[in-house]
Subunit: 336 residues, 2 copies
């Protein structure tokens, strides 16, 4: 990895610097070419930075911010009034080109609104989408989007998500010809909402695109598709439901003896990719630069993963490849 | 249990009589007061009935039908043209009062459309909903609705589902004061679609109703609510996603040695309620009589469970209790 700078919102998420500072320190020691811009209130950050030896690190610059975005803030309020928040300032640095990517564990709605205003979208993209990886039965990964940036979507947006997801699969997971599916309540053509059925018709008609039809919830892990597209409400519920099942099982294992402890250990390993603490980082894609959203309630390993994911996206030129795809895809396929 | 008659669509689901006939035989031997009306083409049913000794059973009557509803049929087509199908004839028997409940593993859309036309709704209910049970971390169950009868819902429908779910929890799960929640993408008041937010305001304003706010996907199994309400697209994806996670884990267990076989055994037990083959039966509630939808791809134990569930609903007078609730609830709470 050559030299590369990432802007971090140090105050997002439920735990703030107690999570973000140790993750930043670990990322710096793992990646010798990484530079970090840290955004947050200096008095709050300083003791944490001192503790892990980042107070005077040559590859770290700290920017004092006087405001915070919390989960109760509405996106519109945050956009208008929290212009000196750690989230906004980190995105500003990204927009000015001082950083190549930005990571935040903060309020998703505010992050989405600010990123759209400050960072700007790829031409042809109406709304960015949150995309995440899901483990598959065959040992690989599929990508799911949108997992929460847009609670309702029309057909045109779903088609755009399909194009963005295809590029992410190609560049981040090295799938040469990703199979793209729409998430629905049945496999038959007449199933689902009008938006999903209309998106299906548009995707099926696209040249140079491997649309494989509808998949259902139980196909999220079956390996039947490399990219699975849905609106943000459905994707968010599906993702959190799988976390819930994981917890249901781990909770049951805790109550038993040695055999069950071993079992829990195995389950934990198997479920780690459904566990927000280890597997993490949903990317906001469709923007001109990489913005990674870390899980709000997750720990330090998750925030580290989100930083590494941001680095990977920069190194694989994901935003540029999406821009190129929208530039060359037939106009009618993503027109509203 | 006193005498009680259930109408069975013998031809629904992926496997038809090979599944439904053994389940019928088992239900009859378990419940001495049960009478069954079996609907399907006589030439197809006969050999199966002979095999399990039901050809001349005193508590069985077989009704020949000349048509079938399959999964490719659109609801509107089935409604208009498949009036001699096993599904329709079973519902007709329910509507005429010859049976107290009906069970089918067939096409959900067709079942919904036919049931609405033939069986009629409880006054005040715009659309019936599919409701199912989910295992909870605390060992109990929560009810989730809608899991697929209505792909999109307005606020008024979600409020109606909440009232129906409350009655189902009270009468089927003996919860004296069920905690009712709306499924959403976050806990904050500003999250979600307009329909969900509006339903939240209406439920919060209702007297004699225990609305506990929003829950997220990972709360489907956490024990935080007794009834969880969402539209049918979201509920269907959530339910099938949990089945998918279960299969992801069981699939992993299959590849290992003895210890992992034990583990798989335990997992199977733990996951049985997420497994369509053992745990099953989503009820179409909001109708004047009980209609239970068995999982299309499930086996004989699942169809048996669906029959037992239909019997339980009749014995607990679920349709009448929902009618009573809609009769006494303040008019504005469920008005459109």
């Amino acid at each position: 990895m050559s030299q590369l700078t990432v802007a971090l919102d140090m105050m997002g998420g439920d735990h703030g610097p107690s999570i973000t500072v140790p993750a930043a320190a670990q990322a710096l020691s793992l990646l010798p070419g990484l530079n970090l811009l840290l955004f947050g209130p200096q008095p709050v950050l300083s003791p944490w930075l001192q503790r892990v030896g980042l107070s005077d690190h040559p590859r770290v610059r700290v920017y004092h911010c006087s405001q915070l975005v919390d989960n109760e803030h509405k996106a519109a309020y945050a956009l208008r009034h929290l212009t000196d928040s750690s989230m906004r300032r980190a995105l500003d640095a990204l927009a000015r080109g001082e950083a190549a990517a930005c990571v935040s564990a903060g309020n998703t709605g505010a992050l989405m609104a600010m990123a759209m205003k400050v960072v700007d979208r790829v031409p042809g993209v109406d709304r960015p989408a949150l995309i995440t990886r899901l483990p598959q039965n065959n040992g690989g990964y599929a990508l799911l989007l949108d997992v929460g940036a847009n609670v309702s979507c029309d057909a045109g947006q779903l088609v755009q998500f399909a194009l963005m997801g295809e590029q992410a699969s190609r560049h981040l997971l090295a799938q040469p010809a990703p199979r793209v599916a729409l998430l629905n309540v049945g496999a038959e053509a007449n199933k689902g909402t009008e938006a999903v059925r209309q998106a299906a018709r548009q995707l099926a008609a696209m040249a140079d695109f491997r649309y494989v039809g509808y998949v259902e919830g139980d196909d999220l892990f079956s390996g039947r598709a490399d990219v699975i597209v849905c609106d943000g409400f459905v994707g968010n519920v599906a993702l959190k439901t799988s976390e819930g099942v994981a917890r249901l099982l781990l909770g049951a294992g805790r109550r038993r003896g040695l055999l069950w402890k071993m079992l829990t250990f195995w389950l934990k390993k198997r479920l780690s990719h459904l566990n927000p603490d280890q597997y993490n980082g949903a990317s906001l894609i469709g923007l001109r630069a990489s913005v990674v959203k870390s899980h709000g309630s997750a720990g330090s390993p998750a925030f580290l993963n989100a930083i590494l994911q941001a680095v990977a996206e920069v190194e694989h030129h994901l935003p540029a490849s999406i821009a190129h795809r929208f530039d060359t895809a037939p106009q009618d396929s993503h027109a509203r």
